[in-house]
């Protein structure tokens, strides 16, 4: 069993009726092989935002918006999945990342990275975060895994 990891928002979408091909397969594998899958609270809002945007563009049926709360409640009830609430420790780290001249991240990335500090491991597809991989490990103690890293870990 692989230790706890925080997954970025992309890995939540397969639970909400979105097919991202390889990501869906990896999410299923991770669900079986990772001790606990963590997500940042902000990822819930990001998923809802993305579903609404896709619906407005005619890419998904309304049914997926309708099922959102039901699917979320299934995840909340699942002992293998945990959403980490925003707290003081996360807020302090978001501020530290904002003041860090060596790291340029948008606010959502900052929140996701800061939330990942709670479990020390982040899995992300975000290139902006991935390019700061070494720095995040050295200065903030957060190990960042890419999709390729995750594939190797789960193989």
């Amino acid at each position: 069993m692989i230790k706890d990891m925080l997954f970025d928002t992309t890995f939540l979408l397969p639970f909400f009726g979105i097919d991202l091909e390889e990501i869906n397969q990896l999410t299923d594998k991770a669900y079986l092989m990772v001790r606990k899958m963590y997500f940042a609270e902000i990822s819930i809002y990001e998923v809802k935002f993305k579903l609404v945007s896709l619906y407005r563009k005619g890419k998904i049926p309304f049914e997926l918006l309708n099922d959102f709360w039901r699917n979320l409640s299934i995840l909340i009830d699942d002992p293998k999945i945990k959403f980490i609430e925003y707290d003081e420790q996360i807020d302090k780290l978001v501020n530290a990342l904002e003041k860090d001249d060596k790291i340029n991240l948008d606010i959502i990335d900052q929140i996701i990275v800061a939330t990942a500090s709670k479990v020390s491991v982040l899995v992300t597809l975000d290139n902006d975060i991935l390019k700061h991989k070494a720095l995040l490990r050295e200065e903030y103690g957060i190990t960042v895994y890419s999709l390729e890293d995750l594939k190797k870990l789960l193989s």
Binding site: T10, D19, E21, I23, Y31, E46, K50
Partner: protein
């Protein structure tokens, strides 16, 4: 033609709904499982609440990963508007 089978249950004093073994077996229900009701007028369809893995296996709409990643920018713009 669909043949519907009707199985009786009953409502307890505190509103609990008791269902027969035959129905529990048909739905694969075990103690502690959650169920959900789909309601239309005065008719309800009961089914076992799916698990997280059931959600992963459910029918999906294919979306390009790049398109989703681009939506991040829009999300951030909405947040800081």
């Amino acid at each position: 033609m669909i043949t519907l089978e009707i199985i009786e249950g009953f409502v307890g004093k505190k509103g609990e709904i008791y269902v027969k073994k035959k129905l529990r077996e048909a739905l694969g229900l075990s103690p502690g499982d959650k169920v959900e009701f789909i309601i239309k007028g005065n008719i309800a369809i009961m089914r076992k609440k799916p698990s997280a893995r059931d959600l992963l296996k459910a029918k999906k709409v294919k979306i390009d990963v790049k398109e989703l990643l681009n939506l991040r920018k829009e999300f951030e713009e909405e947040l800081i508007k």
